[in-house]
């Protein structure tokens, strides 16, 4: 009996030893298949270049073009985390006229990690939703209050703009421009600049999720001596104030930092149409406004007009539509994004008219 135990003991020992080791995987590397469907709004896009890159290994990025079904496949690639980037032009239905087509720049970027997405055998299938260029998270013009309060004296000095940082990173206002466009980017008509060095300055941060109120005149407009305007707004606590240093009569709140004019020869305050205009914020990298505003420098742009038959004043790459249809002068109405920071680069759908301005917070 003792002799019989020995082979069993040896087998047991081998079993225990082998159990300490992991099993050999059944698949080899370099067998992953990745299929991506590229969409813009509800449509699959064809002929769109897609680039995938992994930082797990020192291998070159791979590129492909979507087919007629909007799909692009990458076969027999290493198992790794991939960073997907898309930037291209696409012909899509116009935001203003469903019978017309617009050419827009679309972008997308996302990360795909094999264990986290659905895998059938060794294939990952995923859909990438692209957005129009300019719609990505960042500093947004969230609210425009331009029509003025109810009054019979054509008072509209309580205009303001509200900015919002919809990204996850702190952005810096240093050197950014506030620009009013007369017609297309070639014709800026009012240009004011935040202080500081454009692109590299770090003195004026806007944390993620923060609002910035930029007032024409940073004062309490509801409590003007001998001119009460209860339906106006109190902007004495605004974050910034437009102040043309060459306009000696312009109100200047000493407790609020100024955004100054940079347009040579301009001696008036920042002016904007009550019910129709185009407003941009740029990163300040293009200060040569004589040849227009470089589209690459635009951070956000909003066009608004109170009538639906308005003919667009700015390029569709900046704003595919225009908001504010139905705005009434001297009504106290304001134009704000439907949700804080929401941006599809189409102001027709991005903005809604609210009955009363909400400086520094989102309407409910």
């Amino acid at each position: 009996m003792g002799a019989m135990k020995k082979p069993f003991l040896l087998l047991f020992l081998l079993f225990v030893v082998s159990a300490c080791f992991r099993e050999q995987p059944t698949q080899v590397d370099g067998s992953l298949n990745l299929t991506l469907y590229i969409k813009f709004e509800d449509r699959f896009l064809k002929s769109i270049p897609v680039t995938i890159k992994t930082y797990d290994y020192n291998i070159t990025s791979l590129s492909g073009i979507t087919d007629s079904g909007g799909a692009v496949s990458f076969e027999n690639i290493p198992w790794a985390e991939y960073f997907i980037t898309i930037k291209s032009t696409a012909v899509v239905a116009s935001a203003l006229d469903s019978n017309a087509m617009d050419t827009v720049t679309i972008i997308a970027s996302t990360l795909i990690t094999p264990p986290e997405t659905s895998i059938i055998e060794n294939t990952i299938t995923d859909t990438i939703y692209t957005i129009a260029s300019g719609a990505q998270p960042g500093l947004k013009i969230n609210e425009l209050y331009t029509v003025g309060p109810p009054n019979r004296k054509n008072y509209f000095s309580d205009q303001f703009f509200e900015l919002y940082n919809s990204s996850e990173d702190t952005v810096y206002l240093d050197g950014m421009l506030f620009v009013r466009i007369y017609h297309l980017l070639e014709w800026p008509s009012s240009i004011f600049q935040f202080p500081g060095e454009p692109l590299t300055g770090r003195e004026y941060p806007v944390p993620p999720g923060a609002f910035v109120v930029v007032a024409l005149d940073a004062m309490d407009h509801t409590n003007i001596p001998n001119f009460p305007l209860p339906e106006s707004v109190n902007l004495s606590q605004a974050d910034w104030e437009f102040k043309n240093s060459m306009d000696y009569g312009d109100y200047d709140n000493p407790n609020v930092p100024n955004i100054d004019n940079i347009e040579v020869g301009c001696r008036i305050d920042f002016g904007i149409g009550l019910t129709m205009d185009v407003i941009l914020i740029t990163d300040g990298s293009d200060l040569n406004y004589f040849d227009g505003i470089a589209i690459e420098s635009i951070i956000d742009g909003v066009e608004y007009a109170s009538f639906s038959t308005h003919i667009k004043d700015v390029e569709k790459e900046v704003d595919r539509g225009f908001g504010g249809v139905g705005l009434i002068k001297y009504s106290g109405q304001s134009l704000e994004r439907v949700a804080v920071g929401f941006d599809s680069n189409n102001s027709t759908v991005d903005f809604v008219i609210i009955p009363h301005p909400t400086p520094g917070y989102q309407h409910e």
């Binding site: 992991r22 995987p25 590397d29 370099g30 198992w79």
Partner: protein
Amino acid sequence: MKMGSIRRYTSKIFQYEKYKWGHRMKISVIEMCLLSGMLVFSSHLSAYNNPLFPDIVIEEPFSSTIQTSLNLYQISLNPAVFKNSYREDFVYYSANSFDKINFFRRVYDPKRQKDYQLYFYTHKILDKKSTLAAAVRYNRTDQYDVYRSLEKNFYKNYFSYIDTTKGNVKYDGPQLWFLYNYSLTNNLLLGFEIDYGIERGLKDVYTQCETIIRNMDLKFGAAYESDNGNFIAGASARYLSYEGQYNAVKELQDAFVRTYFGYHVFRDENPRSLNRKNDHKEGYEFGAQLARKNILTDGLGIQLSGSYGTSYTKITVGSTALPGDRGYLVRDGFRIFGNVFYQPLASNLMFQLFYEYKDFSDWARAGEYNVVTIENDEIVQRFGSVLYLPLMKKAGISTGFEMENIQSDYHEYIVKFDYNKDHHNWNGFADLKLVINQITNAHIKGTVGTIEPWFYWDTNSIQVHGLECGVERLFVFGEIGASFQMEFWKPSEERGSINRYGIALSFKK
């Protein structure tokens, strides 16, 4: 480099045999066994690197007219059969130095390497039943102009660590070896062996990587020996453990390192103030062996040994708090070794034929994803012979020849790479042993061979030539020896060579 059986070209400790001529025409059995034991120890004292299936070295002692064949312990590494090779107390000291200049080298090899070794060995019969052996060794290796590699041998690993600078690296540390052999009964032998080594390395420039390696090898064995000693059979088990830690540190900028997966693909690790790589390996090997001597006639014998082994290595890289999995490697396989020898007691003639068959497989995954990234299957077949002929009263010649075939089937899958090749290696030697006078021996040995190396050598073949010469003199207090060695490895294309010079001093009694 996958050298197969060309062991003599690896770092080794020179061995000296005690020889007395004039008074005696032949060496006693005791002395033969003693010398065999010394050879055994020198071949397996490698605690810095304890691979699965350690190489079986066909060492020839020089400065002697005696040539002994392999013994069962050398083939099987079963500590229970060590006693058969040892009959007297013995003490041995040695100091060695090697200088290797790589005029021809692989990308991550040092331009020059100097090795220094001090070692002390002894074995003692405690009583009729117990034998004790021990050794202490101190190793130092200086590598110069190492391009980026933070590994002692970049090509020995599938997952290697590199930085971005060229520098010099110094490694040093002690090794301890201990063996205990006990006769439970007249026929039943037990043995226990432990091999333990620690090594520390430091690079002189950023990232100033510090390497700490700990190696341990445990062996248990049992054997049965017949009453007349002509038959012995045994079984053994081995446990090996290896721990390597590589710490690359910040100097003005965060430590930037890369991890290789195979030999073609790497990953840039996130720069940190301390980037650490950890290698953890464990393995087991089980073997059985038997030997029979004086078959049909005096001096004719046969030895057989077989073993199965498996090991795993886990590699992590990154921060010390949360390291990332980078690799998991498994090796398993088996080996069979057979040796037929003829060494009659009445003569100094010795002849042996040996054959080895080794088959192992590696697979590795890269850590985060459950897919195989590297596979390697290897079959090694080695065949050789050694002949010792006493020529005259004061001379003898030992000659040997060895052929090896290595079938390699290597695959990388991250970026597809396949390497399938049969390597044909051979080597031969001739060793002339002379008796100068009653107390002085000398020898001169020449070797020649060809190796077909792996793809990362970027050459089809390497020609090897070597020359050794040595002298030994007997004093009242013991025997002192000195030797000098030269080796030249030359690739088939004219692109420089690898030159290796060694000098050794020894003392034994």
